[in-house]
């Protein structure tokens, strides 16, 4: 029994790292552009497909394919930002939050359907990073692909934290999230930061999609569930806090998997997994509306 719980916790950690990649992207976009990106799950999905086709059509090995997929998702996201979000920065648009919701929600439906047309409705599975499984905890197995996904994801998160805290571009992003006015006073062009934020956020989601593809396969609707979970995590982590988001993602991933594992009827567990996350979110919103790690209120403007 203990072995089973441990392996479920390990699986939860893998999922938690994937959640963290998706949710940190969402939170970066939220804190810089001040919009909720409802198409974030679809960008994660696109990243998975980019990785798949980079491997199958271009013959790139699986590991570098993750980086190539991230680069493509980065450019793809910037294209979306330039094409659809620039009206947000114009003083002529008054209800910016509403515009952001409508345009990203529409984009999410569009991308999901265009994926069905382009990639087909059936699940696709790229080749494994490393075939086989590691035997742990007396007979229970954990696949190498899961270890690669968790390890790769953690590396990306460390790189992200380094970028945000140690590079002048990361600090400039942080500055814009704190005050657009002050940022422009020191000469930072906020529009370039919006591009960068949307690109980096998209690349993180795309990386998650490419890392998780060999485990769960790709499908046009794969972004729906992680997207919901990412909203839960971003709220838990306190809107706009990257470290809070990472901690909340790991906690949710692990606790959700343990919840599934400990449910009396484990076969029903997975169906309750989403409900569990949303239940936690309701509790947090009731008792700590700024999130567990929220540092300050964020105004939508």
């Amino acid at each position: 029994m203990l072995d089973y719980i441990l392996i479920q916790a390990a699986n939860g950690l893998v999922i938690g790292v994937m959640f963290a990649l998706i949710a940190t992207g969402l939170t970066i976009i939220f804190s810089i552009l001040k919009i909720v990106n409802f198409a974030h799950g679809e960008i994660y999905m696109m990243g998975g497909y980019f990785g798949y086709y980079v491997i199958t059509l271009l013959g790139v090995p699986p590991f570098p394919a993750v980086l190539v997929a991230m680069a493509i998702t980065f450019l793809f996201s910037i294209g979306l930002e330039r094409g659809l979000l620039t009206p947000l920065y114009s003083p002529r648009i008054e209800r910016k939050a509403d515009y952001g919701i409508l345009i990203t929600f529409g984009l999410s439906v569009f991308l999901r359907n265009i994926a069905i047309i382009l990639f087909g409705p059936f699940p696709l599975r790229p080749p494994s990073f490393i075939e086989g499984s590691l035997a742990v905890f007396g007979g229970l197995m954990i696949s190498y692909d899961r270890l690669v996904a968790a390890g790769g994801g953690l590396l990306l998160l460390v790189a992200l934290i380094w970028f945000l805290n140690r590079t002048v571009w990361g600090q400039a992003l942080n500055a814009v999230s704190q005050s657009r006015e002050s940022a422009s006073i020191v000469g930072i062009n906020s529009e370039r930061m919006y591009m960068l934020a949307f690109g980096v956020g998209g690349a993180l989601a795309g990386g998650a999609g490419a890392l998780i593809a060999p485990i769960y396969s790709l499908s046009p609707s794969m972004g729906l569930v992680p997207d919901t979970q990412a909203f839960v995590i971003v709220i838990l982590g306190g809107l706009g806090s990257v470290s809070g988001t990472i901690i909340a993602a790991l906690l949710l991933g692990i606790s959700q998997n343990l919840f599934i594992a400990l449910l009396p009827d484990p076969s029903r567990g997975p169906s309750y997994a989403n409900a569990f996350g949303l239940f936690i979110m309701m509790l947090v919103l009731l008792f700590r509306p700024t999130g567990i790690f929220g540092r300050h209120a964020v105004a939508m403007d």
């Binding site: 002048v168 600090q171 400039a172 942080n174 500055a175 704190q178 005050s179 006015e181 002050s182 940022a183 422009s184 006073i185 020191v186 000469g187 930072i188 062009n189 906020s190 540092r295």
Partner: protein
């Protein structure tokens, strides 16, 4: 127009500025001001007359509906705020424009954004800032939001010097700051003028501002009521105040 001052070329000049936040409702109606090297020019006037709006328009946060802003031969009307530094203009708004959740050191590094690739230059300027304001050096790793109001002002001043601007637009530098620090801040502004910078100062603290001003603009309900060299207004601050207060009052009751 007074002719007691020698003709000096201004670093920033605005002619006939009209502007407002909502179309159709103007806050400024045809204001002309100059920022002149080595001079502190002070914009005074009652609350809500558009003094802060004037500085926002000059720095590009608000586009004027008519009028022109120039720096020598360069037209600055319509230039975005983030590009104003390149034209030698610095802006210190009423609330210190620091980044409260970033450390003092990172705040200073961001002040060097426009020349961030010249690493040696950035480092030298940050060291110089620490030498000028030792408290900033002591607290370099603290987040800027934990500094006192006066220290935040010092941080902002130190940072604004980095790109070596020619013009400083300063809005209420001593608002909600303890009196002991107030004198220091006016001394800082005076020092800038001595270094040949052009200062345009908006202030509610009439006594403090007149104590350092070379030239005075008095605004009333969105336009210039009167202007002239500080000496022309005499030493009687009370008179000046009552003068525009009285006319303001008279205009309201008329």
């Amino acid at each position: 127009m007074p002719d007691t001052l020698p003709a000096i070329e201004s670093s920033l000049s605005a002619r006939n500025l009209a502007a407002g936040y909502v179309s159709g409702i103007e806050i400024l109606h045809g204001v002309s001001v100059d920022a002149v090297p080595g001079q502190i020019r002070c914009v005074l006037g009652p609350n809500g007359t558009g003094k802060s709006t004037l500085l926002k328009v000059l720095f590009g946060f608000l586009k004027p509906s008519t009028g022109e802003i120039r720096s020598g031969p360069t037209v600055l009307t319509g230039v975005a705020p983030h590009a104003m530094g390149r034209h030698g203009v610095a802006y210190l708004p009423q609330r210190p424009s620091i980044f409260p959740f970033l450390s003092v050191e990172v705040n200073l590094r961001l002040g060097a954004w426009s020349f961030r690739r010249r690493h040696a230059d950035v480092k030298r300027k940050i060291e110089r800032a620490y030498a000028q304001f030792p408290i900033l050096g002591e607290r370099r790793n603290q987040t800027a939001g934990t500094l006192s109001g006066g220290q935040q002002r010092q941080l902002e001043f130190a940072r604004s010097l980095f790109p070596e601007p020619k013009v400083f637009l300063i809005d209420e530098p001593t608002a909600s700051i303890e009196p002991r620090i107030t004198a220091q801040i006016y001394e800082l502004i005076r020092g800038l003028a001595r270094d040949g910078k052009a200062i345009l100062l908006v202030d509610q603290n009439i006594k403090g501002a007149l104590g350092i001003a070379d030239y005075v603009y008095v605004m009333r309900t969105g336009s210039l009521y009167t202007e002239g060299p500080r000496t022309e207004f005499g030493d009687d601050v009370e008179l000046l105040v009552s003068q525009w207060l009285y006319t303001h009052h008279a205009a309201k009751t008329a």
